[in-house]
């Protein structure tokens, strides 16, 4: 495998192959109740405690669309810069399975609620646009549990009927890394919008990954394989890497690739065939006669549009313009809505005379390190945005040095203490009284007369020695700038 710049290519002998990837992301709509029933959607509830007669498909039960879920889908469409279809149709996708009580899934086939859109990815070498083919609403199925009993399969219908958004990308992705950035971006947009919590551990976000390969430079798409239901970014990357190499090997051996559905085995790190094109289900899609076509007015869409919060791309632009951040810094800070919120709160609390650079460094440096170590989300940060702002201000106005600030920060971790109080209680205030410092320096020069002479004779390196001595004598609290000035004068 070779990487020219950021290009991801698979090499065999003299041939180089490009990987073409498209994703079908299933994002669970953030909603208290299901797509066509009033049952709750809480994660982790006791099996079969969030199931209505509609979800369990009792005779004569009928679906009624949940308007909130429709709004969520449209908001997501707006976030994906996509065309909102004023008329969409729910279809039945027919197949038999024990955890599919109706014997069909209500989905949208020909006329989805959201059409073409795009997502911008921030890659190390610039931005990349990924096309969105469509977004449609559909029901989730229940869960079959095979490992509780050797003889029987149990079915939990809590998920049955939960609203999902299937977001289909165009085959615009070219590497596992791009897939990772794409998923994170989608997740970020939906979390900004509050339309999906993006929690992959709980299955709120999962994807079917379509992979094909082609000779570098070729314009034609190769035969694709679909890897079903991958539920982490890491597994997606591993699966793509394995699958792309498998396909390249087949081509190199002169064999053809079968269009098929495959499963990724996370333990063996390989994909294997689930069903071939010939065995593909015939889902017999047709418009659900229990539901009229879904029609939304221009006003309905406009009202949602007017209430869309600032999204990552716009926030990034604003951070760069308003706070003079670098694109890199801005990208990090907007990547997650909670990080952005934290940062903006710090900015607000710093008041007028603020040092933006310093604040960014403290958040992305010290704070992120702590969160990483303790495996915490920023929303669980042991240091509040308010107190971090005070700390940054204490550095900025010279009350404490950057070095002392690290000590203060350590102390803040215990119970989110006010740094001002820590500085006062521990007497960590920086010494900035010139007279006191002059006296201190006089004493040091006096104690180290020989070195002072050497310095005067041209051994300039010794300047650092004197600074060090002064800092040591002050217990680290001396204002380094003043020390420098006074030393230069006295020596």
């Amino acid at each position: 495998m070779s990487k020219n710049n950021s290009e991801y290519l698979i090499s065999r002998k003299d041939n180089q192959y490009e990987v073409v990837i498209g994703l079908e992301v299933h994002a669970q709509v953030l909603s208290e109740s299901k797509l066509f029933s009033t049952s709750a959607t809480k994660f982790g509830a006791e099996p079969n405690t969030q199931v209505s007669l509609v979800d369990a498909a009792f005779p004569g039960m009928l679906p009624v669309i949940n308007e909130f879920c429709v709004k969520q889908a449209i908001k997501t469409g707006i976030g994906l810069n996509a065309k909102i279809n004023k008329r969409s149709v729910f279809d039945r996708k027919n197949y038999f399975y024990a955890d599919l009580p109706q014997g069909y899934q209500i989905s949208q086939f020909k006329d989805p609620i959201v059409g073409e859109g795009k997502v911008i990815l921030d890659m190390p070498d610039g931005q990349k646009e990924v096309g969105i083919e469509r977004l449609h609403l559909e029901q989730d199925a229940g869960k079959s549990i095979h490992d509780l009993d050797p003889q029987n399969t149990f079915v939990d219908l809590n998920r049955s009927g939960v609203a999902l958004m299937e977001i289909v990308s165009k085959p615009d992705l070219r590497s596992p890394n791009e897939v990772s950035v794409y998923i994170k971006k989608l997740r970020s947009i939906m979390r900004y919008l509050g339309t999906c919590d993006g929690n992959m551990q709980e299955g709120s976000l999962r994807a079917d990954v379509n992979v094909s390969v082609r000779a570098k430079g070729s314009k034609e798409l190769g035969t694709r394989c679909e890897i079903k239901n991958v539920n982490s970014i890491k597994f997606m990357q591993m699966a793509i890497e394995y699958e792309a190499n498998r396909q390249v090997d087949l081509i190199e051996e002169g064999k053809s690739i079968d269009q098929e559905t495959r499963l990724f085995d996370t333990k063996k790190n390989e994909t294997r065939s689930m069903r071939s094109k010939e065995d593909a289900h015939d889902y017999r899609y047709f418009p659900d006669p229990d539901l009229l076509p879904l029609e939304v007015s221009d006003k309905f869409i406009a009202d949602l549009k007017n209430n869309i919060p600032e999204l990552p791309d716009d926030k990034k632009k604003r951070f760069i313009n308003e706070f003079k951040l670098s694109p890199y810094e801005a990208t990090i800070l907007v990547s997650d809505i909670d990080i952005a919120k934290y940062f903006e709160e710090v900015v607000a609390k710093m008041g007028k005379n603020k040092d933006m650079k310093l604040a960014v460094n403290w958040i992305t440096g010290e704070l992120f390190a702590v969160l990483n170590n303790k495996n915490l989300e920023i929303s669980q940060s042991p240091v509040s945005a308010k107190n971090l702002a005070i700390l940054v201000n204490l550095i900025k106005n010279g009350t404490i040095s950057g070095k002392i600030a690290k000590t203060v920060f350590e102390l803040m971790l215990e119970g989110d203490k006010d740094p001002q109080k820590i500085v006062e209680e521990k007497g960590l205030k920086q010494q900035s009284d010139p007279k006191a410092l002059e006296a201190l320096i006089d004493k040091i020069i006096n104690d180290n007369r020989e070195k002072a002479i050497e310095y005067k004779q041209g051994k300039e390196k010794l300047f650092g020695f004197f600074v060090g001595q002064a800092m040591k004598a002050s217990g680290g609290k001396a204002n380094p700038q003043l020390i420098n000035e006074i030393l230069k004068k006295k020596l």
């Binding site: 005779p59 038999f96 109706q102």
Partner: protein, 485 residues
């Protein structure tokens, strides 16, 4: 006062309101007659003990403001009734007891009526003779070993045989109007969206509609008034202003324009039917209405269209009967084996035939040629009616191409069986209201019906026309109580 079971619903309601009869008197009378009428096989489930209890309770504190005060009523076994077995005429639901009530029956009980029991019907309402029911054939009270029509055969038989003062059926392609015609009773298929489908075992969702079946037009209007309501639990329910059908009922139809569609004169139609139709035309003229010859050019495509659309929807609607959650389950080696055995043993031949047809027409490669084309033709059929209604207020046709036939006569000839619905199916495809009223007898003395088709939401108009015609026709059902021992 005539014998209780001979009274119409309107008379019974009046007698309860005038305190001449108690709910217990009436309920007892219908229970007694039902007990003596087992040979008709109209009931799948009887709920007589509980009905009598409810009647007594009603009489202790009678609410006479209700529209159906203490009136006992048996209903088609396609309506889910809370705590009472609901089978849809199928083995696969033989043990199914709903924990919920259909909106239509809820509306009926809310007006004071009392459930007598659940009436026989074709399995999942698929049939025109009640012969596909898992619970056996239903006898037509007009003569021994004649079918009552279907799928609401038990309902028609129970009303004609006076086992219940009135009832409800469902009509997907003629399942109310054809049995009404076969038994000399009145049956109304309301506009699609008039009566909620919530809690009715689904056959074909875009066609199914509940409606009243009665001895006369006035009773029919009263029950329609009770069962029609907007229901947010059914997304296809329509929120329109509903008439007080019985109160507003009038026989004044002067100046109404009645269309006579030439395409309903089909090949091989018995002369008797043509004559009946001509008589009907004369009746409406006698009532002061005007008849106009019209054309509904796509009529001949209605039956084939129906037999694509209805099975397609049915094949999907019936997928839920898989042995997993409720109903009948056969044991199998694995999941697929269990599915196959459950559905092979649980569904009868006609249901299986329609599931197969429906699955086929929705299959990839056939979808465009069958299902999609059928939807297009369905639109053309609807347009035919829209065009016609620019010129006329209602349309008069025969209800069925023949009178009741013998049990077993058409069992092995599904196409001839399907032809029974030739005049009723277009109405369902267009979502319009249609009413069948008894209009005469054939040479054997069996009843024949005429159908009045209305504009959407224009139930009042066709009830009025039916009401006016009813008085001119003065039909007397020749039922000899042959089954009463």
């Amino acid at each position: 006062m005539s014998e209780i079971t001979n009274q119409s619903l309107t008379e019974l309601v009046e007698n309860v309101k005038n305190k001449k009869l108690s709910s217990t008197d009436i309920t007892k009378a219908f229970i007694e007659r039902s007990e003596k009428s087992k040979e008709l096989n109209a009931y799948i489930t009887e709920d007589f003990t509980s009905a009598l209890d409810k009647a007594k309770k009603f009489d202790q504190k009678p609410n006479l403001d209700l529209k159906l005060p203490g009136i006992p009523m048996a209903v088609k076994d396609l309506f889910c009734t809370k705590g009472i077995k609901t089978t849809a005429g199928s083995k696969i639901l033989n043990n199914f007891v709903p924990t919920y009530e259909s909106t239509v029956t809820e509306n009926i009980w809310n007006e004071g009526a009392i459930l007598l029991g659940k009436l026989n019907c074709d399995e999942f309402a698929m049939g025109s003779s009640n012969e596909t029911s898992f619970f056996g054939n239903v006898q037509n009270p007009i003569d021994k070993n004649f079918v009552p029509g279907g799928s609401s055969g038990g309902s028609a038989s129970a009303v004609a045989g006076k086992l219940t003062p009135i009832t409800i059926g469902t009509d997907t392609g003629g399942s109310i109007r054809q049995p009404a015609s076969f038994t000399g009773t009145v049956g109304l298929k309301p506009t699609y969206g008039s009566c909620s489908r919530y809690g009715i075992v689904a056959f074909a969702s875009s066609l199914d509609q509940a409606g009243p079946m009665a001895q006369n037009v006035k009773d029919c209007a009263l029950l329609q008034e009770v069962i029609s309501s907007y229901d947010p639990k059914d997304s296809t329910s329509i929120d329109f202003e509903r008439n007080h059908y019985s109160k507003e009922l009038t026989n004044n139809i002067k100046g109404k324009k009645i269309g006579i569609p030439k395409e309903y004169r089909v090949d091989g139609m018995p002369k008797e039917i043509e004559e009946l139709w001509q008589k009907g035309i004369q009746y409406v003229k006698d009532c002061g209405a005007e008849t106009i010859d019209i054309s509904l050019p796509h009529t001949s495509y209605a039956l084939p269209t129906y037999y694509i659309v209805a099975p397609a929807e049915a094949s999907s609607n019936l997928a839920r009967y898989d042995g997993v959650k409720y109903g009948f389950r056969a044991s199998g080696e694995n999941l697929i084996d269990m599915y196959e055995k459950t559905r092979s043993e649980g569904f009868g031949a006609e249901v299986q035939r329609r599931i197969m047809i429906g699955t086929y027409v929705l299959s990839s490669g056939y979808y465009d040629a069958y299902y999609l084309k059928a939807q297009k033709v369905r639109n053309l059929i609807k347009n035919d009616f829209d065009e016609a209604y620019k010129k006329v207020d209602a349309i008069l046709t025969p209800s069925t191409p023949s009178s009741a036939f013998k049990i077993g006569e058409k069992t092995n000839d599904p196409v001839s069986m399907y032809l029974n619905d030739i005049f009723t199916v277009p109405v369902n495809l267009a979502g319009l209201p249609g009413i069948s009223i008894p209009a005469g007898h054939d040479s054997k003395g069996y009843p024949l019906g005429l159908q009045i088709i209305g504009k959407a939401f224009d139930e009042q108009n066709i009830l009025n026309i039916a009401f006016a015609m009813e008085q001119k026709i003065n039909f007397k059902n020749k039922i000899m109580d042959w089954w009463i021992k």
